[in-house]
């Protein structure tokens, strides 16, 4: 029964398999949110200002799947002992919403260059044209003056973004805010960030996997029959 099914539907199985493979192929786009790192902004001195920084951005219209992002970090003082998180949060109506994604990091002790921090496998689907923010916030006691790093930044702003800061860091997984816009003329215009967006996930849908399995089984049966 099964065999007849596969035989009678051999061409259809091949087509289904191809369609599934095609539908599972990622269509990704490298989107640079800001220009190269030219300056920096202090981050993580918990009893000082800027316990958290947020860079606002607008999700692309076509490629809404945030696949990865990277940022730049260098030594200010305290070096690699700084523990912090980066992530993405909603931003709406001038306030930040819940953190949608986050990951832990350790600080940089590089006193010569800025280290590149790459955050891969994010796979966070965003709503096209909606405003979000990359958020960076420190972990640990807020009286730890000994830890501070410099986040790579740029003197150029991008898109509808803006650089925001908070004096109240948080150790419970998300910054508590409130955030305020850095409108000081000498402040960087934006953080130096790059992000990769795609139109589909690289993880196939379950129905596609079923079709692929069926198609592959059908092809295998057809091949055995021809050999016998």
């Amino acid at each position: 029964m099964m065999r007849s099914i596969f035989r009678s539907h051999g061409s259809a199985v091949v087509a289904a398999t191809l369609a599934a493979v095609l539908s599972a192929s990622p269509i990704a786009a490298q989107v640079t949110l800001s220009s190269a790192q030219t300056t920096s902004v202090e981050f993580g001195a918990f009893t000082g200002a800027f316990s958290a920084l947020a860079q606002r951005f607008t999700a692309p219209a076509d490629n809404t799947l945030l696949q990865s992002y990277q940022f730049y970090l260098s030594y200010s003082f305290g070096g690699s002992g700084l523990q912090f998180r980066s992530g993405v949060a909603e931003f709406s109506g001038g306030t930040f919403g819940p953190v949608l994604f986050s990951r832990s990091h350790s600080g940089s002790d590089n006193i010569t260059e800025f280290d590149t921090y790459a955050v891969n496998s994010v796979n966070l689907r965003l709503s096209a044209g909606t405003t979000y923010a990359f958020v960076f916030w420190g972990l640990g006691a807020r009286n730890d003056d000994g830890l501070s790093n410099l986040l790579g930044a740029s003197s150029e702003s991008f898109g509808s973004g803006g650089l925001f800061a908070s004096n109240t860091g948080d150790s419970n997984g998300s910054p508590s805010g409130p955030f305020f816009a850095l409108d000081d003329q000498s402040a960087p215009a934006s953080l130096a960030l790059s992000a990769t967006f795609g139109s589909a996930t690289v993880v196939p849908e379950p129905t596609s996997l079923v079709l692929v399995a069926i198609g592959c089984a059908g092809l295998l049966i057809i091949a055995r029959r021809r050999r016998t």
Partner: protein, 936 residues
């Protein structure tokens, strides 16, 4: 003296040498004149030299526990050391590259006397003898440079690469380079010194061939001071011919005489041998010295002498001219003289007659002492002769003299000199003689043949109408022509001259005026513009004939006379006594800017003058100071009288700038000569008070304001300058741009002459240090008090100064000058009421600023900001000097315990300047730099 110095000096002494050509100087051991041109310009004492230098004082194995410099006066007379300083430079450094390398001198040094200047002291070695001056210069033991300089300000140059300018070289009185140095006199430096060796000028300090290598030797140090045994200078035998460079006519003999002296003491001439270079022009008796003029031309008359002090020679020129044609009676000539009365001489006068309305500007009457033939008075004539003769086209001028202004013989004489300096007549009374100096030098006088011998009042000696003979004594006819009956003036005029009750310090000026309106002998009114001024002795007190501005030239007394130009007869006079102003010990050079000298972005209009009493920056285009800085404490106050000696600043003249005198400051309007550094702040000694009257210390000030709120501020400051309180004051004018319109700032120029600009406001700031602590101990704003005021230069500035109180920062904004920069920034910003600037610190972690290429250069940075967190966030920028930078936006400043550490790897060898700039949120910046050397 350095060879190039010597050449420069030679130019300036050319005139002196020319004038002295007829003098012969033998025995070359006489010390050279270190900087003769400087003397001509600014009164540098000649012959003072550096005689000993020791730089290892206090070092291990040192003979003495202090460095020292020893001076010696190799000249024949006492020399004032005021305005001189000893300055030091390292082997290759600039002179006085920092303030403690200058030791201002004062006092005097007698002929043959030594003067010991003690420098930095250490622990090893014996104590110096009592020093005559003390400085703190840490001199190098082996190699260095010492200069005796004619200024208190830093010389700021060396031989190479920062070569001294001509102006700077002219300020060097003597220079000694020892060891291996880049600047010395002559072919080389003095020997290398050590803990046991000092540099000695040979012959006890008397040898000065302007070659340090030849003039100095090294020996065990043996400092000498003013109490040490003096060493008589080696004197030259000076041979002098009289008359000097005479002129005679064919057939008229000239009698030459010769004298010799040594150190000013006459030396008997044992033998003299005369000769004439061109016998066809003039012959001379080789023994008697009587020359016979034979033909027109010039010959050189020489004499060789022998004396008990050695031999010598001298020469002079003799000019022979043809006898004048057209008779011997000149058109302009003396016509009447009165010089002697029974008892006190009265109304001494000389009358000159010439063509009617002849312009005698530049002519002069020079009086000669027949005893020696020396000129003793010169009276300038001015304007045209008064038309006095009704029967001929001639007129007369009468020159009046003060009592005993004309000597009584016998004989004495008078020369009439025209505007070109040519002697028209040289007459004498009670005998004849030859003039030995002045315009008639070398001429023999013509005796007028008559004399006054205690004549009654009202008589004189008079010349005949044709000028060929003299007669008298007879009733004086001054003002009338001798060719016609004399009509006495209708009345007796009267002119009264202002008097001065206190001595006028030498070097200072004042202006004479008439006391009210006088009248001449015809009853015409006489005002200040209707008189001509003259001095009985211009070498003591000179006077400008038109303005009446007098200048004290030397110690003594002189009579100043105003003569009415309307009749050239009526006179009034006053006597001025001069003295040498004394300076108090409280006046210390440099102390008046101890909190920092004001600076702005454009130093081109800042002509700096540093005095003991104050320092100032002069603006040559405005004729006023930009600022004046001084300190005020109880030691500056005393009972010296107000000098009232408003004086054109000779410091400006020496710099080639025009110095306006008091006459140019007076306009009779609302603008007074307003002291910036007040006279009453410096009345501890008359010399200190006089210094405040230099007109470079003045601004045109509204008289009401000067006596109003401005005066209230000055009095308030003096009232708190008691006990140990020290007040540092800076003050100056403000010229608001285009305030007067037409591109004129402030209130424009006084009298629209484009000389002296009138400010529209004036400011003063004062830091009051109650306990007098030094600037390095001012660590908190509470340590001092601040007074700052800016008030209009208008009659509205009356009442209390508090009405015009402001902040230092507001004044800095208005003037562009940064004030009190030596106060630490964290205190300074509080005192000035302004944003505090970040104060960065950057150090290399390795402790070295030199590394091999490819090796990381790591710097550790920290900073402070007295504004605290209110100053942030800050931008943090490191410019590595190779085109790359590091930039950060900081919410907290790195500290010494929590520094920011950055690293840089240079790719190419070379020298890089690393600049750390921290900018606060108000734009205030602090900068720190490091110079990094990257080796291949």
């Amino acid at each position: 003296m350095h060879a190039r110095l010597k050449r420069a000096a030679a130019l300036s002494v050319f005139a002196v040498l020319s004038a002295c050509a007829e003098r012969g100087v033998v025995e070359p051991a006489a010390p050279s004149f270190a900087s003769p041109r400087l003397d001509a310009v600014s009164g540098v004492p000649p012959f003072v030299v550096i005689s000993q230098v020791y730089g290892a004082g206090g070092n291990v194995s040192a003979v003495f526990n202090s460095d020292f410099v020893e001076l010696y006066n190799a000249g024949p007379s006492t020399v004032s050391l005021d305005e001189l300083s000893v300055q030091y430079a390292s082997a290759n450094g600039n002179f006085a590259s920092n303030a403690n390398q200058i030791v201002p001198l004062s006092g005097s040094i007698a002929s043959g006397q030594y003067f010991l200047v003690a420098m930095s002291a250490g622990t090893n070695g014996a104590a110096l003898p009592a020093a005559d001056a003390t400085g703190s210069i840490p001199m190098a033991a082996g190699s260095g440079k010492v200069a005796l300089v004619k200024q208190f300000a830093a010389l700021g140059c060396n031989g190479s690469p920062t070569a001294c300018t001509t102006e700077q070289r002219l300020r060097i009185v003597d220079l000694v380079g020892y060891g291996i140095v880049n600047f010395s006199e002559g072919t080389g430096s003095a020997p290398m010194l050590s803990a046991i060796l000092a540099a000695f000028r040979r012959d006890g300090g008397r040898q000065d061939t302007n070659d340090n290598s030849a003039d100095f030797t090294a020996a065990a140090p043996a400092p000498r001071n003013r109490a040490s045994t003096t060493l008589p200078p080696v004197a030259a035998l000076v041979v002098t011919i009289a008359p000097s460079a005479p002129t005679t006519t064919i057939g008229a003999p000239v009698v030459f005489t010769v004298t010799a002296s040594k150190s000013g003491t006459p030396v008997t001439v044992t033998t003299a041998s005369w000769s004439s270079a061109i016998m066809a022009t003039a012959t001379i008796n080789p023994v008697s010295g009587v020359a016979q003029a034979l033909a027109a031309g010039t010959t050189t008359i020489s004499v060789d002498v022998t004396t008990a002090e050695g031999t010598g020679s001298a020469a002079t020129l003799l000019t022979v001219s043809a006898p004048p044609t057209g008779g011997s009676v000149p058109a302009v000539r003396f016509s009447e003289i009165h010089y002697d009365n029974f008892g006190n001489d009265q109304d001494e006068k000389i009358e000159v007659e010439g063509p009617a309305a002849m312009d005698l500007t530049g002519w002069s009457v020079v009086l000669y002492n027949g005893n020696g033939g020396v000129a003793y008075s010169t009276m300038l004539l001015a304007g045209v002769t008064r038309t006095a003769c009704t029967q001929s086209a001639r007129s007369v001028v009468v020159v009046s003299y003060p009592a005993n202004g004309i000597q009584n013989g016998s004989p004495d004489g008078m020369a009439l000199v025209d505007a070109s300096g040519t002697v028209i007549e040289f007459l004498s009374y009670e005998g004849s003689f030859a003039a030995v100096d002045g315009p008639a030098v070398g001429l023999s006088s013509t005796d007028i043949g008559v004399a006054e011998n205690s004549s009654p009042v009202g008589q004189s000696l008079q010349r005949s109408a044709d000028g060929t003979s003299w007669s008298g004594p007879a009733t004086a006819t001054f003002g009338g022509c001798n060719s016609e009956p004399f009509t006495p003036p209708p009345g007796t005029g009267s002119i009264n001259v202002s008097t001065r009750s206190t001595p006028l310090p030498v070097g200072f000026q004042t202006q004479l005026f008439l006391s009210g309106i006088g009248t001449d002998n015809q009853g015409n009114p006489v005002t200040n513009t209707d008189v001509r001024w003259s001095s009985s002795n211009a070498s003591i007190v000179s006077v400008d004939a038109t303005s009446g501005v007098v200048t004290a030239r030397a110690m003594g007394q002189a009579t100043l006379t105003a003569t009415a130009t309307s009749d050239n007869v009526t006179t009034g006079s006053t006597v001025i006594t001069t003295n040498v102003g004394q300076l108090a010990a409280a006046a210390r050079v440099g102390f008046n800017t101890a909190l920092g000298e004001p600076t702005d972005a454009d130093p081109s209009d800042d002509v700096r003058i540093a005095r003991r009493q104050y320092s100032l920056s002069y603006n040559a285009s405005r004729g006023t100071p930009n600022w004046v800085s001084w300190n005020l404490d109880a030691s500056h106050r005393g009972s010296a009288p107000r000098c009232n000696c408003f004086t054109a600043d000779t410091a400006l003249t020496r710099l080639g700038l025009r110095a306006f005198d008091t006459n140019e400051w007076i306009n009779g309007g609302v603008w007074s000569r307003g002291h910036v550094s007040p006279s009453a702040d410096w009345n501890v000694a008359d010399g200190d008070n006089a210094a405040t009257f230099f007109l470079s210390n003045m601004i045109p000030q509204n008289q009401t304001a000067n006596g109003g709120a401005w005066g209230d501020l000055e009095n308030s400051l003096r009232s708190i300058a008691v006990g140990s309180t020290q007040i540092y004051i800076v003050s100056g004018p403000i010229y608001t741009r285009n305030r007067a319109g037409a591109g004129l700032d402030g209130f424009g120029f006084m009298n629209s002459l484009g000389r002296i600009a009138v400010p529209d406001s004036m400011w003063k700031v004062a830091i009051v240090v109650p306990d007098g602590r030094p600037v390095t101990d001012i660590r908190n704003a509470a340590d001092v008090q601040v007074i700052a005021a800016n008030m209009p230069n208008e009659a509205t500035a009356t009442g209390s100064w508090n009405r015009f109180s402001t902040t230092i920062d507001a004044i800095q904004q208005s003037t562009g000058y940064d004030l009190f920069a030596l106060i630490t920034e964290s205190v300074q910003c509080r005192l000035e009421v302004r944003n505090c600037l970040p104060e960065p610190t950057m150090v290399s972690t390795s402790g070295s600023n030199t590394m091999a290429r490819g090796t990381p250069f790591v710097v550790r940075s920290s900073a402070s900001d007295a504004d605290g967190s209110a100053g942030g966030p800050w931008t943090f920028r490191i410019d590595w000097g190779d085109g790359t930078t590091f930039n950060a936006f900081l919410t907290t400043l790195p500290t010494a315990s929590r520094p920011n550490t950055r690293s840089k790897i240079y790719s190419a060898p070379g020298q890089y300047t690393v600049r750390l700039t921290i900018t606060d949120k108000n734009g205030g910046q602090g900068v720190q730099t490091l110079v990094v050397t990257v080796t291949p």
